[in-house]
């Protein structure tokens, strides 16, 4: 898995590529915790290039959402593709996040 970060005008876009699982999620968790700690007002997580996510990956995203709820920041998941969308549905998290299946940011 690779994670890249791009900052612009008060928002940070985290782009993840590769499987998001028990092995790789700690790296993403560290980056997201850092953004929450810095009170970034708008965090975007681009999952377009993530072909697989498990409960460890979902837990990482939920943890980030709890952080942004505390800091009143906006968290957007974008590019939630057809391979991982069913996992969000299975965990009923597709209605919990601000989530879009394409990778464009509004």
């Amino acid at each position: 898995m690779e994670v890249t970060l791009a900052d612009s005008e008060g928002r940070s876009e985290v782009t993840v590529s590769g499987d998001l699982d028990m092995q790789s999620s700690p790296e993403l968790r560290r980056m997201l915790s850092d953004l929450v700690r810095k009170n970034v007002p708008h965090i975007i997580i681009n999952l377009e290039a993530v072909p697989y996510i498990d409960s460890s990956g979902l837990a990482t995203l939920v943890e980030c959402m709890q952080g942004t709820n505390r800091t009143k920041a906006r968290l957007q998941l974008i590019g939630v593709n057809e391979k991982i969308w069913p996992v969000f549905e299975l965990a009923r998290l597709h209605k919990v996040f601000e989530i879009s299946r394409d990778a464009t940011v509004d």
């Binding site: 499987d19 498990d54 409960s55 979902l58 837990a59 990482t60 939920v62 996992v87 965990a91």
Partner: protein, 152 residues
């Protein structure tokens, strides 16, 4: 040599209790699911459930000791795929294993929910001297000659 072929085919692997090997588990499960005749979306779901079962063993039975082993066994039968995951760690207590309420949004506890939601039967055998055996079954949907599904 017997002229009657067995209607059960078995695949078994021994895997280190190391998250780095979960990609191997997923590839194998996906291949076995396809061979068993599961449709692609069910193969993906079963692959996720097996991954969750293995990571639960790493977390709870072996408490993140990545130097242990577990055995994953698949039995492909005409009407079902049976899976057994054997570990030699701390025995689980089935009465304490429950998926969490999904309305309670928090990290953790999703793995058990996913396993129960995806698999048709889930049973924890704690009768071994050491460790636990998790048995899971996924039934194949019968397909009629016109291509439509029939309920089993």
């Amino acid at each position: 040599m017997s002229e009657v072929a067995s209607d059960t085919r078995t695949v078994e692997i021994r895997i280190p209790s190391d998250p780095a090997f979960m990609a191997v588990v997923r590839r194998l499960t996906s291949a076995v699911g396809t061979l068993a005749g599961l449709p692609p979306e069910e193969t993906s779901a079963v692959t996720l459930a097996v991954d969750e079962a293995c990571t639960n063993v790493i977390k709870h039975a072996y408490k993140h000791d990545y130097g242990q082993q577990m055995i994953l066994n698949f039995e492909l039968k005409p009407d079902r795929l049976e899976l057994r995951l054997r570990d030699y760690g701390t025995k689980c207590e089935p009465s304490r294993i429950k998926g969490r309420d999904l309305d309670d949004v928090r990290p953790g506890g999703l793995g058990v929910h996913i396993i129960r939601k995806v698999m048709d039967e889930v049973e924890y055998d704690t009768g071994h001297d050491v460790g636990t055996e998790l048995r899971m079954t996924k039934f194949l949907k019968a397909v009629k000659t016109d291509g439509s599904d029939t309920s089993r």
